[in-house]
Amino acid sequence: MADVKYTEEHEWIEMDGDIGTVGISDFAQEQLGDVVFVEVPDVGKKFTKGEEAAVVESVKAASEVYAPVDGEIVEANTDLVDEPERVNADARGEGWFFKIQLKDETQLDDLMDEEAYLAYVADL
């Protein structure tokens, strides 16, 4: 399995070369409930770690998706705009939000691995 890291704000990032695919965790989609709206960033946009990069909304809650690392957007999953339910169906796969080209791969070291993340959410 590819190298997946998680943030405390429940984003995951999966690396392929210097490109990371970002989405929200299964735990996050469950907490939100039925996702009804997703806004993804434009390709070419640059973010620093922790900046709001995308929006995800359910009927009763709205939440931001933060950039887990510094970088530039190279692809956005615009399918989610028409089919936000993909986030619920497959948060770790088809429900990805955007791909980001990393500026500094060492930033990944600050994130949690899957095991640490699962322990983290078990405490919430």
Partner: protein
């Protein structure tokens, strides 16, 4: 069971199915008999409408029937107890409606010569005097259209006063139990919002507040009684601490109905507070407005109040509409014309009917009723903070843990019993909040029936009758509606080409 009976028409006895007006269109039909327009050469120029608008044509009997049938699908305070915490659903006396329709009040234009509307200014001034006396404040800005609008007005007044003193400051402190409008209003006023936690007693954590209180704080926005239905008993210390660093104390007056006639916010160190006339002063909610949110102000803030305002001058009254016509330094204008005048009429009629004694009695009875619910339900429901409460009582959903019944399910089961549910999931400081506000206008008999119903439902939940709750409501003309579909593919208007939803 009888409720399985299918009818040919879709009507169910007195509950009539009613299509949209657009589905009842008979082209050319109208319910208003207007004279033939005189034949004139038009002066519209070239920008004229081309083609039909698409409005449906109905007859007067059709229109009456349409809206009467719609009305019968609404719950209302006229029909039953509506214990929505924080919303103050109490009886709306009809004398208020009658007086608001007097031609001398409903039929006057805001820009008539001031000499021809002295009675209207007098009414605004008298209403203002009641409000300032009841709150113990120096003056009032009457124009805000609703509570949230009043919050914005109050914060802008504070900002204007701070700017005049040379420093607008940067932050506004908002307790985490506050209404969502508080942070939204502070943000619109250009302030960053910082949340202050509640302590274990459900009140503002005084230590945390003081820790966050620096000289870049413009104001604290406090709700008192707070949204947990509790009086902030350290309000005077909070106000003193805020004043010591030059910050103002804004009070969200949504819950003023708990203390009106007994406590004057001015005596608590409050500088600025909006009043929801549609809550405390019983003007009707109308399915979502119109409201009115006058803001009472301290002496220090009065000069910065927005335009327009009425002043007494000799025997009469004058409306100050422009900064240069008055003594103050108004920061601007919040609304077209002079405020929600029709709401002032209703609120004044209510205050005059109640009088000083009646208003005091009303807050006493509101607090008594809420504490009665607390006393009769707290053995079965869970009380996150001990009482006494003020005009509303907050429970949380611990009593439902492990039952499989959610707060929402519980609320929907109340609908089948003929009660409007209480406020749920607010305030955010407790998990699964259930906030009940009975108001003073419910009788003990109604409260007892409500208590019995809540107790029975809580027992049913505990006894594992999950299905009863998951299926609820079953006795309403509509069952639970699919909010996910509504939000995923919004249909916000009728269109002729839209496929009809399945019946």
């Amino acid at each position: 069971m009888a409720d399985d009976l299918q009818t040919i028409t879709g009507h169910r006895g007195l509950v009539m199915e009613e299509p949209l007006i657009f589905e009842q269109d008979a082209p050319g039909r109208t319910a208003v008999d207007l004279p033939e327009p005189p034949d004139v050469a038009d002066r519209l120029g070239s920008a004229v409408r081309e083609g039909p608008i698409g409005l449906p044509g109905l007859s007067e009997p059709q229109v009456i029937r349409h809206y009467l049938r719609l009305s019968q699908k609404n719950f209302s305070i006229d029909a039953g107890m509506y214990p929505l915490g924080s919303c103050t659903m109490k009886h709306n006396p009809r004398i208020n409606e009658k007086l608001a329709r007097l031609p001398g009040l409903a039929g006057i234009h805001p820009l008539q010569p001031q000499s021809t509307v002295q009675g209207a200014f007098e009414l605004m001034a008298v209403t203002a005097e009641w409000l300032t006396t009841l709150t113990g404040m120096a003056g009032v800005a009457m124009s805000p259209a609703a509570g949230a609008h009043g919050e914005l007005t109050g914060l802008m007044t504070i900002r204007a006063a701070l700017e005049a003193a040379g420093n607008a400051r940067k932050r506004v402190l908002v307790p985490e139990s506050a209404h969502g409008t508080n942070p939204a209003s502070a943000h619109m006023c250009g302030y960053s919002v910082e949340s202050i936690p509640a302590d274990e007693r459900g009140r503002v954590d005084l230590a945390a507040f003081k820790e966050n209180l620096t000289d870049d704080v413009a104001a604290i926005m406090i709700t008192n009684p707070n949204t947990c239905g509790l009086f902030e008993n350290e309000i005077i210390q909070i106000a003193e601490a805020a004043h010591a660093v030059g910050a103002y104390v804004y009070c969200d007056g949504a819950n003023f109905n708990a203390i009106v006639g007994r406590v004057r916010p001015g005596d608590l160190g409050i500088d600025c507070m909006h009043l929801n006339l549609h809550k405390t002063f019983s003007t009707p909610h109308g399915g979502g407005g119109p409201g009115a949110g006058p803001v009472v102000l301290s002496e220090a803030l009065m000069p910065f109040a927005p335009l327009p305002y009425v002043i007494r001058e000799g025997e009469g009254f004058r409306l100050v509409e422009h900064a240069e016509d008055g003594d103050g330094a108004p920061y601007g204008r919040m609304k077209g014309f002079h405020g929600q005048f029709g709401v002032f009429v209703r609120a004044l009629a209510y205050m005059m009917s109640m009088g000083a004694d009646g208003l005091r009695q009303a807050s006493s009875d509101a607090v008594l009723n809420a504490n009665y619910l607390l006393a009769r339900l707290s053995d079965l429901l869970t009380l996150p903070f001990p009482g006494p409460c003020m005009h509303e009582v907050l429970f949380d959903d611990h009593f439902l843990h492990g039952t499989g019944v959610t707060t929402l399910d519980f609320a929907k089961a109340m609908i089948d019993e003929g009660f409007h549910p209480m406020t749920m999931y607010f305030p955010l400081v407790v998990h699964g909040a259930l906030l009940m506000e009975p108001t003073e206008t419910e009788s003990k008999e109604t409260l007892d029936q409500f208590i019995m119903t809540i107790r029975s439902l809580a027992e049913r939940a505990r006894d594992g009758e999950v299905d009863h709750f998951k299926q609820a409501p079953r006795l309403t003309p509509w069952r639970r509606l699919d909010e996910t579909t509504a939000a995923r593919s919004p249909v916000l208007r009728w269109r002729p080409d839209l496929p009809q939803a399945a019946e």
